[in-house]
């Protein structure tokens, strides 16, 4: 899962990036509204954490521009202005949730998790696909009740496929959502990780759809 953090306070920006990376997300970050808007406009993110008080272009305008251009990724706004009028203005501009400053990192992580899950159409923190069971909150995967040990790269890949279960996911989409913008897109890392996951989970679960990409589970699962 790839997350964009737009926050002008460098320390807070770093803390958010660290916490999100630790939670298993791939994180890009921007320090002003213009850069944030550009990234959100050009890269596919699974969620955006957007501060409202930004230099160059304020957060609300960034959000409005994205929504006007048809960008639908979930957006969590961070705001120090915690009056309802400010919160509602943010929601009306297209935000999906808000966190008022000062906040605890756990709260932000919980909200991001919920947003990503909801955007993929899952109602609970558990996604089930055949024998696989993903606990998003705990970051754990089990197969037939037994815990599966995964590296962070493997976890990101299976988590993304679980979120998009039943749908064919192209190699490009995987790269876009699992790596940050500096990743070398021509490398064959995805194939390597899919191979490792098949070894751990059994070869039949992740299906290769020739010429299109990979699919986890069937459409009606």
């Amino acid at each position: 899962m790839r997350i964009l953090v737009v926050e002008d306070d460098l320390d807070l920006n770093r803390q958010l990036c660290e916490a999100l990376t630790e939670a298993g997300y791939v994180v890009d970050h921007a320090e002003d509204g213009e850069e944030g808007h550009f990234l959100g406009d050009t890269e596919p993110y699974d969620a955006v954490i957007l501060d409202l008080g930004l230099p160059v272009l304020d957060g609300l305008s960034v959000l409005e521009n994205w929504r006007r251009d048809g960008k639908t990724m979930p957006v969590l706004i961070l705001t120090a202005r915690d009056r309802w009028s400010d919160k509602v203005a943010g929601i009306d501009a297209g935000a999906d949730d808000y966190v008022a400053k000062p906040f605890h990192m756990e709260e932000v992580l919980a909200r991001v998790r919920a947003l990503v899950r909801r955007a993929a159409g899952h109602a609970s923190n558990e996604i089930i696909c055949g024998p696989l069971r993903l606990d998003i909150k705990a970051g754990k995967l089990t197969k037939d009740g037994a815990s599966v040990k995964l590296t962070s790269h493997e976890y990101r890949l299976i988590s993304y496929l679980m979120h998009q279960k039943g749908r064919v996911v192209s190699r490009t989409e995987l790269i876009e959502h699992l790596y940050d913008q500096d990743f070398d897109r021509d490398s064959n890392t995805i194939e390597v990780f899919v191979g490792r996951l098949r070894k751990k989970l059994g070869g039949e679960l992740i299906e290769t759809v020739r010429g299109l990409g990979y699919r986890l589970g069937s459409e009606n699962d």
């Binding site: 306070d9 320390d11 807070l12 803390q15 660290e18 916490a19 008080g53 120090a80 202005r81 915690d82 009056r83 309802w84 009028s85 919160k87 509602v88 929601i91 009306d92 999906d96 949730d97 808000y98 008022a100 400053k101 000062p102 906040f103 605890h104 990192m105 709260e107 919920a114 909801r118 109602a123």
Partner: protein, 473 residues
């Protein structure tokens, strides 16, 4: 200074100094006094002129009789005065009729002839000056007031006679009195008409002032944003000044609010950094930092809230329609609490308005609605309706937010509205929610009441001042 002390100071000032009488009172009083005096003087002059005219007509009549008597005297045998007997006035022949004539020999003082009406009495003649003619008022034989005209004539070059003709003034006086009565009646009617016209003129003339007052009251009540400036040119500058004052008042509050917002932003971001840095580090120093940061956070929240409260309610002439606010918040809530798939119903009559700041209304309903959404199982309901007025011109509105959650016990309900209480630490929130609502409601002279809702959970009922715009249900 609080509102109460200001108003009581104003009351004291009002007691010490008698209230200025009303402008229309002054105008009507001055105009009425002037009209009454003018009419009284006019009446007096009219009656005086009438009396003078009547007297002079009376005198002319006496003069005609004198001339007739002289003619009759000379009309008989030559050289000898003849008794005049045909003056054409029967009252000269009726005893004590009030009409008399007499001819006196001016040298000897003896009565030569006298009218039959004198009945042998002598007419008491006032002195006749050398000019030979006088008119005077005296008493007749019967004690009645008479007006008497005397003239001295020389007959046959040697005999000098004094001719006197008198008539009772009773009739004259009666006519004058009757005229005076009619004049008084006419002038009274005229006077009343004048006073009525003055009253009307003052009412019409001062209507713009009344309009201005109404307009200002509308602003005060939040039914209008500014005073109507379409007024006569004497008042228009006042309305413009008032509007400037209202605008600057609004701007000051807006600025104060912006400063508070800026301060909040400036403090809260570093606080987030410190909190998270401390929580991500082990050791006593980090623990101390986390603890202190938590204290700072509480303090910042507390003082920011106080600063906001101070800025609130100082603005006059604002009101907010409730329906759009509830609709907007309900929309936002269903997004914020998307996981719960809540059914948020609201029933708000169109056009019903809160007398106060829209931001405050959003804060009040937002906190209650957010609270209800956090706790409810599936249903949240907002009902708005007019509440019984707190007195003349103090209409109120009731906003009820209820949910089907676990609700609160009577004890908890009492506790919840106290400042800074958070009943459940596991549900995120600043811990100020319900008590902030109660505080803001109190600032507006309203109240927050907690009860058990019909849905089974908590029912939070807000009573707030309602703007007096027409309620269209």
């Amino acid at each position: 200074m609080t509102e109460e002390t200001i108003s009581s100071a104003a009351e004291e000032a009002g007691k010490a100094k008698p209230r200025q009488r009303s402008l229309s009172g002054r105008l009507i009083a001055v105009a009425t006094i002037w009209s009454v005096v003018a009419i009284a003087v006019a009446g007096f002059i009219l009656v005086t002129l009438y009396r003078q005219a009547s007297e002079s007509a009376f005198d002319e009549r006496l003069d005609v009789y004198v001339k007739a008597i002289i003619g009759d005297m000379a009309g008989g045998e030559p050289g000898k005065p003849t008794r005049p007997d045909n003056l054409g006035e029967p009252r000269f022949d009726l005893p004590v009729s009030g009409w008399y004539w007499t001819i006196v020999d001016d040298r000897q003082g003896a009565v030569v002839f006298a009218s039959l009406s004198l009945f042998g009495d002598a007419l008491d003649l006032p002195a006749l000056p050398a000019s030979g003619e006088t008119t005077s008022v005296t008493s007749g034989p019967d004690g009645e007031e008479i007006r008497i005209l005397q003239r001295r004539i020389t007959f046959n070059d040697e005999e000098v006679y004094r001719i006197a003709v008198a008539g009772a003034t009773k009739e004259l006086r009666e006519q004058t009195a009757e005229f005076a009565g009619q004049v008084a009646l006419t002038l009274t009617v005229l006077g009343l008409g004048l006073v009525g016209a003055i009253f009307l003129q003052v009412r019409v003339g001062l209507r713009p002032l009344r309009d201005l007052r109404q307009s200002l009251a509308n602003v005060r009540n939040g039914d209008a944003e500014s005073v109507e400036e379409d007024l006569p040119k004497e008042l228009a500058p006042l309305a413009i000044e008032l509007n400037d004052l209202i605008r600057s008042n609004r701007e000051i509050v807006e600025r104060a609010r912006t400063h508070v917002g800026n301060l909040a932003h400036a403090l809260k971001t570093p606080l987030s950094v410190i909190t998270n840095e401390a929580r991500g580090t082990d050791g006593p120093f980090a623990a101390k930092m986390a603890e202190q940061a938590a204290i700072m956070r509480t303090q910042v929240e507390h003082h920011l809230e106080r600063a906001r409260m101070a800025a609130q309610r100082r603005v006059i002439g604002v009101s907010a329609e409730i329906e759009p606010v509830v609709a907007r918040l309900a929309r936002a809530m269903s997004k914020i609490h998307a996981d719960k798939d809540l059914d948020i119903d609201f029933e708000v009559p169109k056009g019903i308005r809160f007398r106060g700041e829209q931001q405050d209304l959003e804060e009040l309903i937002g906190n209650l609605l957010d609270n209800a959404c956090k706790w409810s199982n599936s249903r949240v309901c907002v009902t708005v309706k007019p509440a019984p007025a707190a007195g003349e011109g103090r209409e109120r509105v009731e906003i009820e937010v209820s949910d089907d959650g676990p609700g609160l016990t009577a004890e908890q309900r009492k506790e919840a509205v106290k400042r800074g209480r958070r009943l459940d630490e596991t549900v995120p929130g600043t811990g100020l929610g319900l008590s902030i609502v109660a505080d803001i409601a109190r600032i507006y002279g309203g109240a927050l009441e907690l009860d058990v809702s019909e849905l089974g959970g908590l029912s939070a009922r807000l009573i707030l001042p309602m703007a007096q715009a027409a309620v269209r249900i």
